[in-house]
Subunit: 644 residues, 2 copies
């Protein structure tokens, strides 16, 4: 019955490049952005002084008198000028006759990127001068009047996508960077996709959009929340790291089918959320329908339902909770092959608890991987996992070329070849150790190898392919890293236990699976959610007995659960990451209008900024200036500042 | 061409009751909320375990097997039970036969407000037992199975609209208060209207929805902005009081047609924004179309265009910049009548600069206004304006009954009667003084009198009538109150001067009108906007020479204006206030899910809250505890904390 789903805007701080940027030249955004074929075209020139946008003009407009507004993109020999608006480019012919001297003067003297308004007639370009690469390339404008609306001074960089600028310069002059075709496309596509999601939720499925507060009480474990001093001495608000509590309170308040495009203030991911059996499926179907409905019309349609994989399988096969299922190179457990090996190292590993020998196979690796690649792979293993990885090359003569080779008896070699379908020139990367650690290592190396192979021209991951995957059946608790005898929540303490494991909560909580689910796209987590605990007693037991948390900070939520809380759950989608994948942008900063730098600074306005002591007074705070030694330590320890 | 409009969510702190609450009993929200007649009905039971909502069942469902989920609203003699969900109420017949003993037990023992799932058959109520006041009153449910999903403990108040609770209790148990029919209606209508606005802007007119940052640099005059300490010693972010700068930067960045449903962090109104002549009209038409499109389908349609009134006229006629034009009682300048009066008081007032004598006429006031009313009107005048107001009663014999009467010569009395169309039993409220002050006083008394008359049963302001009005041609600057020789912005320093007055900026800036416009509905400002300055030189001149502001805090904006800023403008609508007027809610807290109390506290979670010193450390701040005498002063001086 009741459920909440929401689309949180998650900020992940520093992001590494993902995929390739598809750099569109000026295709008409209006057409490009149409997300459903049957939709009515919006009127882009209603209520304004222009009659048309620059980018929309076609031979069908021939002979029409038009008024256009835009920026001067470039000028050729004082004869042609290209005018740009957010819908594209159009060529304007500068009149050369005496009678139009004033028009010529305006158009020839205005610096590039100045704003002008022109009016004139749409005419055909002379035969042979058409530009088939430009959507408006068959026509040009014969100008009658021109008016300089605002002049532009010398630019710090050219507004052309092919002109490379540093990221710092782009962020400092963000308002100029936003004029690029790529940024225009990304932000407009984002707006359109979010609008489609809203239509799906509100208009098709009766969801209600509720805004929740930004200034709230801090939550347990809220050390990562921003504080906002109030005018009451010593009292602070907190910027909530997610609308986590509010969505539960809305469910308890009977606001069935709530969603929100929310902001999360935190430098980590944030997690978002119903009763048992029947609900997880409902939320998953809803999310699939939502993405299918909102997907850009110019891509392959989203196929539903998405496949689903238990966390344990994801870890064992891909070494991660967010597998990129666009390619194989799966992890194989080859422990049995080495049960009776003479290698002490392998024997030793196998004898430990959860000890395994595992491998991935890089097909034709011997052809593509160079000596330095193998070296860097081994270095990666020792650096990040403090663990050895052994490369095994299968040579043409089917001999094994590896330090471990001497321990592989012929019978076992054949078994290994069969198990992993080994062929000539394949390279095996083998490791031994504790199950989860060995899997994580090989999961990491699998992605490293994919990068290396793609660098050599092998196509493993089709950038036009979108592989969605549900990862389910996560553990509810993990042992704490610093004290493995205590447990902590794998996601958050409000996640409901898996219905089949409910009885274990009181006896073997570490074995309980949760009703948390992650949505993964091409190896990136784009969403996560859970069925929530709606039983106040169970929630209290988990918080105080299992997790040993201080429950006073959550008393309002625990109290609310007592008053007829309906079973509920939901999901949060990370719009930044999703838009990154859809547009192929290298960084989430390319899908956000005014992003912070990865140090949390706004390079345009240089925020955060100093505040004079008298302005701190009403908030009853003063700055504790660090000593020199503290300052030094602090600078190494700079943590990320959330928000987008 | 370019323009930005946005829908800011403004918070006005403490709000006084406006209009009457129309308390709907459980009308089916689904139908009630349909905002356009041609729209497809959303599916409220997709992806969930119920087959139907409680509120939607009608005789057309007779014989259907249904599964419903909801809260137990009440129970009668263990025979009937009323189940509630957010779509309404339905009657459930508790089975009495032996074989259904377990179902009976569940339904009879569960406390009120517990959550249950039932399944059964829709049957007709026995003849004579139908309830025509209840939308589902013709049918009831014959239950087959029942399951208790969550039990409810004893409630702090009953979830019935007619049970009165204090506002503090409502806010403390907000999640229970949200279950009321009124709150459900308000929040769902708000979601629907905002969705319609989005459709109008995005789908019909090609606007782009861009989210702007919440953590930013403080702005000049930002003493009212919340500060957010960063991990850099002494450096602070600020929660922007409006996306004021961002919307301009987006225009400069070529993000033509931007809008946002934004939050403003400030305890005052906030103001929102293009080139000359052709643009103000465009924004006004857009806003009119937007409201017309988004208006609830069950009200009278919004008629466009809205009337427009210059600020000077609004002040002279209604004594305010937000006139309630649903009723007359206009201010009349009667100075000429008293030019040669013998009253020293009046003569004295008229001889001063801008000196006037003005009056409003309360029709049939002698019938309705009691002696104590007149006393309270006079007290209001002296308390708020330190000014005398003289009541003049026009008696049946057409004699004047007032202290000033003796100064009114017959000729002038007739003139006054003619000018103000006076009739028997009318009461004249007369004042003398400086033009603006006299107008403000009478504007205030006009509303006081309307309240008094309506308290006596006279209908002046039809609560179902919506009178929109544009107020335009505001002054660009006002003299500072504490130093009238200096000027300050009437709205904000980015507002463009009126094109006809542009030349006066350098000579007589106090005479320049602005391109600011306010949208007024029934005497409340629901929106405001302006055409912005796009010329960097003019902006610099106004900031530094006219206003004597420190421009360093705005250097990024001034720099941006230099790089081909297009002419632009826009508007911000206050959604809280608008929803208040549409729903007739007495307070904006009734159209916000989790409002703060008027002292800025969250009564549910008791935020703001104390933070232990070790959690302040990463932000390099410490609390400056006030001394006892400061604390005392502070408690009297508690200022409002914005946000919703």
């Amino acid at each position: 019955m009741y459920f909440s789903s929401w689309l949180s805007q998650l900020y992940r701080g520093f992001s590494r490049p993902i995929g390739r940027t598809t750099q569109p030249i000026w295709v008409p955004l209006s057409r490009n952005l149409m997300l459903g074929s049957q939709r009515k075209m919006p009127e882009f020139s209603s209520f304004v002084a222009r009659t048309n946008t620059c980018g929309e003009l076609r031979p069908s407009h021939l002979g029409q008198e038009v008024t256009l507004c835009g920026w001067i993109q470039y000028r050729r020999q004082n004869i042609f000028l290209v005018l740009r608006d957010c819908h594209g480019l159009v060529q304007v012919v500068i009149p050369q006759d005496e009678s139009a001297a004033s028009v010529k003067k305006v158009l020839c003297e205005a610096p590039l990127e100045s704003v002008v308004r022109i009016s004139g007639t749409v005419i055909s370009r002379p035969p042979g001068q058409e530009n088939p690469k430009m959507p408006t390339g068959a026509i040009e404008i014969k100008v009658k009047t021109a008016e300089l609306l605002n002049s532009c001074r010398k630019l710090p960089f050219e507004i052309k996508d092919f002109v490379k600028k540093t990221e710092a310069l782009r962020l400092q002059y963000r308002y100029l960077d936003l004029r690029s075709a790529q940024m225009q496309h990304n932000l407009r596509l984002r707006s359109q996709m979010v609008m489609r999601m809203r239509e799906y939720l509100c208009n098709l499925h009766g969801f209600v959009d509720v805004e929740t507060p930004t200034l709230f009480k801090r939550t347990p474990g809220g050390a990562k929340e921003f504080l906002v001093p109030s005018r009451e001495p010593g009292k602070f608000y907190s910027l909530p790291q997610s609308p986590q509590q509010f969505k539960q309170l809305l469910m308890i308040g009977g606001l069935d089918r709530y969603f929100q495009v929310a902001r999360c203030y935190r430098d980590e991911g944030s997690r978002p959320d119903r009763q048992p059996e029947f609900t997880q499926t409902g939320i998953q179907s809803l999310t699939e329908g939502l993405l299918q409905y909102a997907w850009p019309g110019d891509r392959d349609p989203v196929v539903t339902p998405f496949p689903s994989m238990p966390f344990a399988e994801a870890l064992a096969t891909y070494g991660t909770d967010k597998p990129d299922t666009r390619f194989g190179m799966k992890i194989t457990d080859i422990s049995d092959v080495f049960r009776n090996t003479k290698s002490e190292f392998l024997q030793d590993s196998l004898s430990k608890p959860q000890g395994t020998v595992k491998a991935i196979c890089v097909r034709e690796g011997a052809k593509y991987l160079k000596r330095k690649d193998i070296k860097s792979i081994r270095k990666c293993a020792t650096d990040h996992f403090n663990q050895e990885v052994l490369p095994v090359f299968l040579k043409a003569n089917s001999n094994w070329n590896a330090p471990v080779a001497k321990f592989i008896e012929e019978e076992h070699g054949l078994e290994l070849t069969r198990m992993m379908e080994l062929q000539e020139d394949d390279v095996l990367l083998l490791t031994a150790g504790e199950h989860a650690k060995a899997c994580s290592l090989l999961g990491k190396l699998r992605l490293e190898c994919a990068d290396l192979l793609e660098g050599r021209g092998v196509v493993l991951r089709d950038p036009t392919q979108f592989s969605f995957l549900w990862v389910v059946d996560f553990p509810l608790f993990f042992p704490k890293e610093d004290n493995p005898k205590e447990l902590e929540s794998a996601h958050h303490p409000f996640t409901a236990p898996h219905p089949s494991d409910g009885h274990l909560i009181y006896t073997e909580p570490e074995k309980v699976r949760s009703q948390h689910y992650d949505l993964v796209l091409n190896g990136h987590e784009i969403g996560g959610g859970s069925i929530r605990i709606h039983d106040a007693e169970l929630q209290r037991y988990i918080l105080s007995t299992v997790l040993k948390e201080d429950v006073t900070l959550l008393s309002h939520l625990l109290q609310a659960l007592d008053y007829g809380a309906p079973p509920h759950g939901g999901i949060a989608l990370g719009l930044d990451r999703l838009m990154c994948l859809v547009t192929g942008a290298p960084s989430i900063r390319d899908v956000i209008a005014f992003p912070k730098s990865f140090r949390g600074r706004d390079l345009m306005s240089s925020a955060p900024d100093s505040v004079p002591p008298e302005e701190l007074k009403p908030y009853h705070i003063q700055v504790s200036w660090p000593t020199d030694s503290e300052a030094e330590k602090g600078s190494l320890n700079h943590s990320l500042h959330p928000e987008s």
